[in-house]
């Protein structure tokens, strides 16, 4: 099926002989044609038809005879840039070139058949632009609370669809209460910290402006001031992975409270055990908000046999509450809440150690990431 053959151009008179690395291919009919076709699997390839089936030339010569170029500028020949990478097949007088990657909507390609030196037959194909729908949006930012500690370590930005990579810091700003942009608040990593789906971005506040005694903090000071209001602003110029801008800008406003240098204490968490035979949630309430992503990964429940209780985890109330809705009813018995010690709060204080350790007070020689546990009992339901 021919899907595009715009701007067909004959750049030279078609001679009777088309040279291919010293092995001439006779154009018997004089009707060599260059086309762009789709295979049943949807892939597109360029083909030269009408060649003499008996004279395929040698494989090494196909790339010399027929090349495809990406055209950025419609006035240029495209030839000054490298040819498009791909593979060739010659069959029944048809030479096919399949690009290694799908053709790009909105770009043009110049397919060029070279015969004797200086003679070329060219066909240009414009791939129609796709209509981009601005449907992607920011669906959440964590921490979700509207009061955050001065030594806040990171934000998680959740999007409804996969985003483009490489523009995160151009499209994310922190504004103070006067609406002024806070300069250099983030750790601008070249490898942006996306989840595997491209829907969640982690942005760290520059740790050099949190850590005590390091240069950036000494010279410029911390990013946040206690008592001030700030807004994290996400621009609608940011494009999703398909190339469409976000549907709307996003703003999260919050107030800054005093720095938090204490490790979370699992013994202080309020645990509400469900009743046996029910599918009530097991719920935990923390004394201060914990890290949204880590709460999904580093807390779980096991039964006495050490089997994990499967279910849906919910993190709510400004990351102060964690609950597990089991897939099946709770059997009465003893359970253990399992906690990885690297679970952090909003300032990066882990259960195993605070974000910063004052080595005058505490020195550890080894790093042991532990799993802690807290026992609880699911009692039979009272009748």
């Amino acid at each position: 099926m021919k899907i595009a053959s715009a701007c067909f151009a004959l750049a030279g008179l078609l001679p009777a002989l088309i040279c291919g690395c010293g092995q001439p291919v006779r154009d018997e009919s004089g009707s060599v044609r260059i086309g762009l076709v789709s295979s049943p699997d949807g892939a597109r390839y360029f083909e030269v038809s009408g060649l003499d089936a008996g004279h395929p030339g040698d494989k090494a010569s196909w790339g010399e005879t027929f090349r495809v170029y990406t055209v950025f500028d419609k006035r240029s020949a495209g030839e000054e840039l490298p040819a498009v990478a791909g593979s060739y097949v010659f069959e029944d007088g048809v030479l096919r070139f399949r690009p290694r990657f799908p053709l790009e909507p909105g770009l043009a390609y110049s397919a060029r058949l070279y015969y004797s030196p200086g003679r070329v037959k060219e066909a240009r194909f414009e791939i129609p632009r796709e209509d981009l729908v601005r449907g992607t949006s920011v669906i959440a930012v964590y921490p979700s609370a509207d009061v955050l500690p001065e030594n806040l370590l990171k934000f998680y930005i959740h999007f409804s669809s996969p985003m483009s990579v490489g523009r995160a810091y151009d499209n994310t700003r922190l504004l103070n209460s006067k609406g002024e942009t806070v300069r250099y608040p983030f750790l601008e990593l070249d490898e942006e910290l996306w989840d595997p789906t491209g829907r969640r971005l982690t942005i760290f506040i520059d740790p050099g402006r949190i850590k005590q005694g390091v240069l950036p903090n000494k010279v410029v000071g911390p990013v946040f001031k206690v008592g001030e209001r700030y807004t994290l602003e996400i621009s609608d110029e940011w494009k999703d992975a398909a190339g469409a801008r976000l549907g709307a800008p996003f703003r999260k406003s919050f107030k800054v409270s005093a720095a938090d240098h204490r490790s979370p204490d699992p013994a202080a968490w309020k645990l509400a055990a469900p009743a046996g035979g029910s599918r009530e949630p097991l719920s935990l309430t923390f004394e201060a908000p914990l890290d949204h992503a880590l709460l999904h990964r580093l807390l779980w429940v096991e039964n006495e046999a050490g089997e994990r209780v499967e279910g849906e985890v919910r993190v709510e109330a400004g990351e102060r509450r964690w609950s597990l809705l089991p897939d099946t009813r709770w059997s009465p018995g003893r359970y253990r809440l399992m906690i990885r010690s690297i679970l952090e709060d909003l300032a990066g204080n882990g259960i195993d150690k605070p974000f910063e350790v004052d080595v005058f007070e505490q020195v550890r020689e080894r790093v042991d990431s532990k799993t802690l546990s807290r026992e609880f009992t699911v009692s039979p339901r009272q009748r």
């Binding site: 990406t70 950025f72 840039l81 490298p82 040819a83 990478a85 290694r100 990657f101 799908p102 790009e104 770009l107 370590l153 483009s164 990579v165 490489g166 810091y169 250099y184 750790l187 601008e188 490898e191 942006e192 910290l193 996306w194 989840d195 595997p196 789906t197 491209g198 982690t202 740790p207 050099g208 850590k211 005590q212 390091v214 240069l215 950036p216 000494k218 010279v219 410029v220 494009k239 992975a241 398909a242 890290d291 992503a293 880590l294 999904h296 990964r297 779980w300 399992m338 990885r340 690297i342 990066g348 882990g350 974000f355 004052d358 080595v359 550890r364 020689e365 080894r366 990431s369 799993t371």
Partner: protein, 373 residues
């Protein structure tokens, strides 16, 4: 376009750790042709025998690829390519804004540059290795080359993501900020997109089938008082007072030295801070070289240009133990190399030259071979 700016350091490893060429034989013997497909391509570095190490952060894997590019060229072609981003985009059939160049490494045997490139906008964009020989650009066909891969397992969420029964896919990824081949081991520095961690893995090469990598955490001791975990941005290896060391730049700018012999599984390492590279600055890339019998280190930075440091000064440095005040930098002295502006990527091209990727005023990228300062 943001680009990832990482270093490769294989050559310095061979030069400064006195790698025995006889012991390096047959490193590709256990490799297989497996039609390798990259899920992503981050930092790249060369080892001996034309082996290219490619970090694949999305797959949490390091690949070793036998490029076969081993013959020492009699006359190496000087790599020079204007508008490399535009040319790579054209070869991959797309526009320059839809490619991302992550890193580059020069094969010391042939002088050919290898670039890791993502073709597309999203996280799942296909990854490609592009070679540049002189001014000729080609995409490397990984499917026909022998390779070996090593999964970076034992991430600190093993229980949560690999247990029994139904699991939702973990959202945790480990960004790989640098990798390098040092004295028979592949060192991989990384940081997580969730917990504030720092990890440095030391993987024996050829990859041991089930061997767990040595995983260490790097700490930053701020002037002897506070210590925190510190992700490594980029590193090189060199000999300090006759001992092999890693010189690492942290994300928050201190430059530290760590004895290689300390990198053992589960170890807690605290680097000796020998310099602070300055405020509002990110270290990008480092290389080590010798000129006129003296050894130097070049550090590419995001806002403070290229710094040249004598490694003798690193040896002599007592370490920073006091607060840095006023001027904003302290520790080993350095020289800023004028004229090397806009350098985003850096590797040694040969004994006398560096290959750099430079951003032009028009926002495109050039590959240039520059004499080592």
């Amino acid at each position: 376009m943001k680009v990832k700016l990482l270093v490769s350091m294989a050559l310095s490893a061979m030069l400064f750790l006195g790698l025995n060429p006889a012991a390096a034989a047959d490193l590709t013997a256990g490799m297989k042709t497996v039609k390798l497909e990259l899920k992503s391509a981050g930092p790249v570095a060369f080892g001996p025998e034309g082996i290219l190490f490619v970090a694949d952060p999305l797959a949490a894997t390091v690949h070793a690829v036998a490029t076969g590019d081993t013959a020492a060229a009699k006359k190496k072609k000087v790599v020079s390519l204007e508008g490399v981003d535009r040319k790579i985009a054209a070869a991959l059939g797309t526009s320059p804004d839809k490619i991302r160049i992550s890193d580059l490494a020069v094969n010391p045997a042939s002088g050919v540059a290898y670039l890791s490139v993502a073709r597309g906008s999203g996280v799942a964009a296909p990854a490609v290795i592009v070679t540049v020989r002189g001014d000729h650009l080609e995409s490397l066909d990984l499917s026909s080359l022998k390779s070996a891969s090593f999964a970076l397992s034992s991430v600190p969420d093993a229980k949560a993501t690999t247990g029994r029964g139904r699991r939702r896919e973990s959202a945790r990824t480990q960004a790989i900020t640098d990798l390098g081949y040092v004295n028979g081991r592949v060192l991989v520095a990384g940081m997580s997109n969730e917990e504030f961690s720092s990890s440095l893995r030391s993987i024996p090469f050829p990859f041991a089938g089930s061997g767990k990598p040595a995983s260490v955490e790097i700490y930053h001791g701020a002037h002897g008082r506070f210590e925190t975990r510190s992700p490594v941005r980029t590193f090189v290896s060199l000999n300090v007072a006759g001992q092999p060391y890693l010189v690492a730049a942290y994300q928050c700018t201190p430059l530290v030295t760590i004895p290689l012999s300390d990198i053992k599984p589960g170890a807690k390492l605290k680097g000796k801070t020998v310099a602070e590279l300055g405020n509002r600055n990110r270290p990008l890339d480092m290389i080590v070289y010798t000129k006129d019998g003296k050894e130097y280190m070049l550090i590419a930075n995001s806002s403070r240009g290229i710094m040249k440091v004598s490694t003798i000064d690193l040896e002599k440095s007592p370490g920073i133990t006091e607060r840095v005040s006023g001027g904003g930098r302290k520790g080993v002295p350095y020289e800023t190399i004028e004229g090397w502006k806009g350098i985003l990527q850096l590797d040694r091209a040969d004994d006398h030259n560096a290959l750099v990727m430079r951003e032009t005023e028009g926002g495109s990228f050039n590959l240039e071979t520059l004499p080592l300062p």
